[in-house]
Subunit: 308 residues, 2 copies
């Protein structure tokens, strides 16, 4: 049977990664351009489209189902990126319209965590699931929510910001200006802060969340305690999210999750402790089944499945 | 044009209220039986059906679109009430099956807060809205969530339990066995507890949340402060819920909301304070537009619209 193809684009502040994705979830070609070399949308799109055309030509793919884009502040409803603070190209950027100057295919935008959730459903461990939530841990904490097989965008297109739900009232100051957001505790930076709080010394840039993971796996008691605290906080946030949509599974991905056992074992315990009894046994915590260096492109490419 | 009709049933621990509802949201006949007089399902359903048949006969309605039931632990997917702790009839009760012994019409069950949300959409202030959340304050705190015009039931049928999301870690002990649930702060009992905590005296049964409302409207400073605290807690929970589904509106109903200004003014302020900036201006707090003594029956009757 003939394969179909789509393009997935992951727009980061520094790099823009593009991939030509076969319907079985294989990325058959990749390309990239430096996002921060551009201050205007038109030349950026022009160079992006040149990469896409080259990938298609090289791989002898004459037709694609569409272009999916995961981008900070990517808006599903408008096809625009709305004033993303970490992009050098400023303003409301109409990607869909600009891309249509070159190629008349469906264009779908969403934020990166939403794309990751959808990618997990189309190509990863959430195949066949109808209700799940994805938490992504990294610089920030993102989330994507699938209910009844549909990615939730809400009335504005920006639904699924569980990283900014307040976990601890009057807690740590968040980059969003408020206090106590989940992100301030379970992002890479939040984890580092907890480690130094437990250690009782000022935060040092010598150590990052990966190093705290390594220390924990070597048996360092402060590092192990750090992951227990993080697990308790994340487990509470996950249990709270179950009250909303009663998912079958909660997926987890991102750099800090690579620590493994020191996080995952206490996380399971915390989740069960905080879960409302009527949901006991109905929802499991699972790790993303997509490769870290593929999830952004696969997630973006998967978004196209919503339009076709 | 000819009207259509449906039956709405509100099952409480003490009473079962039934109504014959016209498609314009008018309850044209009502009836009730004492829930706690029954310990078996069959006689309860038999008497319920007798009431329904009498209402239809009295009003000369020969046909109904279906029977909607709002019940504690009412499960949308199975048509059963699952082990509701406050009912004298114990076990998993298959309402749909039993009712079909008498009448071959669609039967839909859901919990009362879900029914209230759906009733608001079909007959009340949420007509035409696609994304909203209903919070019901009373003995407990319930919620119903509508996304893209659909009531969210999740994978188990029990989605929408925001009253049991943990608002304050290690906070007040909740009837569910956990600590710090929203319900422990903004239910009628939670409000009374806050009042006595602020007053610095033991909780007395002489005063209920209604009395604290009256005191606040008379200018009593401790009562006013109580509603400010409750508003802050509820506003935070509402703002957190916006992160999930980016609704256009959050509705509020139930006894304690009748206090008016002393709750609603600080609630608006707290909601804005806790709302993530990307949602600013996208979501408004509104009061339910259904009458307190009609919402349960109208909500239950509205559920039928999901099956036809």
């Amino acid at each position: 049977m003939a394969h179909t193809y789509s393009i997935g684009i992951d727009i980061g502040g520094t790099n823009t990664d593009m991939g030509l994705v076969r319907d079985d979830g294989t990325i058959i070609a990749r390309s990239n351009i430096p996002t921060n070399a551009y201050i205007e949308l038109q030349p950026y799109i022009r160079d992006m489209m040149a990469c896409i055309e080259k990938m298609m030509k090289d791989m002898e793919v004459s037709e694609i189902e569409g272009i999916g884009i995961g981008a900070p502040n990517g808006n599903f409803y408008t096809g625009c990126v709305d004033n993303a603070p970490n992009l050098t190209i400023k303003g409301v950027l109409n990607f869909e319209k600009e891309i249509h100057q070159y190629m008349n295919v469906p264009v779908v935008l969403s934020n990166d965590a939403n794309a990751a959730a959808y990618g997990e459903m189309v190509y990863g461990g959430a195949k066949g699931l109808r209700h799940f939530i994805m938490f992504t841990l990294g610089t920030g904490v993102g989330s994507g929510i699938v209910i009844d097989g549909k990615l939730i965008h809400g009335s504005t297109g920006a639904a699924g910001e569980l990283g900014h739900s307040i976990l601890i009232p009057n807690g740590r100051k968040c980059s969003c200006g408020r206090y106590g957001c989940l992100e301030t505790y379970t992002s890479a930076r939040g984890i580092v802060q907890t480690y130094f709080e437990l250690k009782g010394t000022p935060i040092s840039s010598d150590i990052d969340s990966k190093a705290i993971g390594d220390l924990a796996n070597q048996g360092d008691p402060i590092a192990l305690k750090t992951w227990e605290v993080v697990a308790d906080q994340l487990g509470m946030a996950m249990a709270n999210s179950v009250n909303f949509s009663a998912p079958e599974a909660i997926f987890l991905m991102g750099g800090p999750t690579k620590v493994g056992e020191p996080l995952l074992k206490p996380l399971q315990k915390a989740f069960e402790k905080y879960l409302l009894n009527i949901f006991a046994g109905s929802c499991t915590i699972r790790m993303s089944q997509l490769k870290a260096n593929e999830v952004a492109i696969l997630g973006a490419a998967a978004l196209i499945k919503m339009k076709i």
